[in-house]
């Protein structure tokens, strides 16, 4: 993990300006994927609306910068706050609905948000999108130019590592474990005295904050927002990245984002068949790697443990216990089960 972090900070800048620009984009879209991973993989609430949170946060930056101020702190707070407000809606859904109804509620809400910019074209720019005025383009990112130099790239790396580390810490904490337990069996968790709805609301708001952070970074990095950010495609993409990487892991959604976006961009440059390749890649994941790439690697690791455990003398830890302890492996898709 430490090597990965070092590589993230050091290697792209060594390869000139092009690579950091691309990785920058991957990291920004990796944040909503991470949010999906937390809410769907660990809390088992399949939320298709994370893209709406991302989009609203991005639009907030552009609108406030366009009409009110370029102050980067004000923009950051406004953006994150707007994302959390949207997440409150999803938190309500987590309380009143479960399973397929929850999924559909998040889907419909995202579709509703996607139509909002066209209703207030003076504010949002409508179909043309909204650019941050040139005089504030660098000011809004704390003076770090997203195009020139590596300052903005390193800020992004720092923020991504921060969210990953915090999420990992929270998941391993008592509260995080309770949240995972609620995701796997809410009835049993409630019987043990845990506030199921309380934890679901908390994880929804936390993951919303991460997605909103992604939206804020997108807006200050690109100095332009458009309808696509609020569209269903953006939301579904976040879900796909997460599921492909491994929805119940921290690093999986980020790797899924990098892999799928790279595949899409690379195949888009080579031919016009990128949609076909992405479709087949999804099918490969569905049928061959149902736990995602990281989940698949984890299964391989467990297989290795199985071989090693065959030689374990009697009286030591049984194989099943080893498997459960090491992986939390339950043979379900990315942790999203139909329990």
């Amino acid at each position: 993990m430490a090597l990965l972090i070092v590589a993230l900070f050091a290697i792209p800048p060594l390869y000139g300006q092009f690579l950091p620009q691309r990785v920058q984009n991957y990291l920004i879209f990796g944040l909503p994927a991470l949010a999906v991973g937390l809410i769907a993989g660990h809390a088992r609430l399949l939320n298709i609306g994370v893209g709406a949170t991302f989009g609203v946060a991005a639009y907030t930056v552009a609108i406030v910068a366009h009409h009110v101020t370029f102050n980067p702190f004000v923009l950051m707070v406004a953006s994150l706050a707007s994302g959390v407000i949207v997440s409150v809606l999803f938190a309500v859904y987590a309380v009143v609905a479960t399973g397929i109804e929850y999924l559909l509620l998040t889907l419909l809400t995202t579709a509703a948000f996607a139509s909002l910019p066209l209703l207030a074209t003076n504010l949002t720019g409508g179909e043309n999108g909204l650019a941050i005025p040139p005089q504030g383009a660098v000011v809004v990112s704390f003076g770090l130019d997203p195009i020139q130099g590596n300052g903005f790239y390193w800020l992004l790396c720092f923020i991504t590592v921060f969210w990953c580390a915090l999420s990992s810490y929270l998941l391993s904490s008592r509260a995080g474990r309770a949240m995972v337990a609620i995701g796997r069996n809410p009835v049993r968790a409630a019987a043990m005295g845990y506030s199921v709805h309380g934890y679901q609301v908390a994880v929804t708001l936390y993951s919303g904050l991460i997605a909103a952070c992604g939206g804020w970074l997108y807006a200050i990095g690109n100095t332009f927002v458009s309808l696509d950010l609020l569209g269903l495609t953006n939301s579904v993409n976040a879900v796909l990245y997460s599921l492909i990487g491994g929805v119940d892991t921290i690093i999986g959604p980020l790797l899924g984002t990098i892999g799928l976006r790279f595949l899409s961009e690379y195949s888009g440059m080579q031919s016009t068949q990128s949609q076909l390749y992405v479709g087949f890649a999804l099918l490969v994941v569905v049928y061959l790697l149902p736990a995602g790439v990281i989940g698949g690697l984890r299964q391989l690791w467990l297989l290795r443990l199985r071989f090693r455990a065959q030689g374990v003398p009697e009286g030591e830890e049984p194989l099943a216990a080893t498997l459960a302890r090491e992986g939390g492996f339950d043979a379900t898709f990315g942790g999203v089960t139909d329990e």
């Binding site: 769907a40 399949l46 859904y93 009143v96 609905a97 479960t98 399973g99 397929i100 109804e101 929850y102 999924l103 559909l104 509620l105 889907l107 419909l108 809400t109 579709a111 509703a112 139509s115 909002l116 066209l118 209703l119 269903l232 579904v236 796909l240 599921l243 929805v247 068949q273 949609q275 076909l276 992405v278 479709g279 087949f280 999804l282 099918l283 994941v285 569905v286 049928y287 149902p290 379900t332 898709f333 990315g334 999203v336 089960t337 139909d338």
Partner: protein
């Protein structure tokens, strides 16, 4: 004003009728198998291309509609079943992902085979009837009538025909139906065929009104989801009724407020409806 309202209502009825066909199929698939098919709109698209192909080969419009229903229904239905069968006991997310992948693949293949441009399809009936100062195309009314006949046929099938009754039995309790001798596998296959056949028929009937292009099914897919949710997941009759209502409300609403606002109101309504229902929703194919 009165004429505009009448014409808008008729337009809404046309959209609603075709939407009802797609949504009824979607609802059936969800009711029996618990599958939310994100690629339903793409079978709508394939139905539209079937008509375009039939016309291009001089086979006639109505033969194209029949071919769309049979070929897309059977080949598509059984193909989709073969694709999703290994996932039947797996998480919803896997099925959603698989149908999403299929949607991407079908759109790209359609673009490769037929091209990305919109292809106009001539309506089989050119006649128009006067509504005040407007001349309204007769074909649009034929679409409504055809959809009504197909949906009524579906209702009768589910209510009185043996396989229709079995289909409802499987939706209600698959294990019990199996114990009582219902051929569950055949019922599943039939559900896939009917569901995709309905989407293909809708696409073929609507082709002259919307032109044909690879992503023509995307918009109708979202609206079909709205209809299925509002009508009650797995509720065949509810889906049909809500589809007609949605088409008319959107068309009439667009006269007084912007189309986006109408859509927002519809979204809001369906969200509230779903919240109210979510605690007591039972997934059955109801009539």
């Amino acid at each position: 004003m009165g004429e505009s309202v009448a014409v808008a209502a008729l337009n809404g009825l046309v959209v609603g009728a075709s939407l009802a066909l797609v949504a009824a199929g979607l609802s059936l698939l969800f009711g029996v198998l618990g599958i939310l098919n994100f690629a339903q709109g793409d079978f709508f698209m394939l139905g539209a291309y079937a008509v375009w192909l039939a016309l291009a080969n001089g086979l006639g419009f109505w033969l194209g509609v029949a071919a769309a229903a049979v070929v897309v229904g059977i080949a598509g239905g059984l193909g989709l079943m073969a694709m999703l069968w290994p996932l039947r006991d797996r998480a919803h997310a896997l099925v959603l992902l698989a149908t999403l992948a299929l949607s991407l693949i079908l759109q790209q293949l359609a673009s490769n085979v037929f091209g990305a441009d919109a292809k106009p399809v001539a309506a089989p009936i050119d006649a128009r009837i006067p509504i005040g100062s407007h001349d309204y195309p007769v074909y649009d009314l034929v679409v409504v009538a055809a959809a009504a006949i197909i949906l009524a046929g579906g209702f009768v099938f589910l209510k009185y025909v043996r396989y229709g009754i079995w289909l409802r039995a499987v939706a209600q309790n698959q294990r019990m139906a199996s114990v009582l001798g219902v051929p569950v596998f055949r019922v599943y296959a039939l559900t896939f065929v009917i569901s995709l056949g309905l989407a293909a028929v809708a696409g073929s009937l609507l082709a002259p009104l919307v032109s044909v292009y690879p992503t023509v099914g995307l918009d109708i897919n979202l609206n079909a989801f709205i209809v299925v949710i509002a009508g009650g997941l797995g509720n065949f009759r509810g889906a049909a009724a809500i589809a007609l209502a949605l088409g008319v409300v959107e068309a009439l609403g667009a006269i007084v407020i912007p189309g986006q606002a109408v859509q927002l109101v519809v979204f809001g309504f369906v969200i509230v409806l779903l919240i109210v229902r979510s605690q007591r929703q039972r997934v059955l194919v109801r009539l």
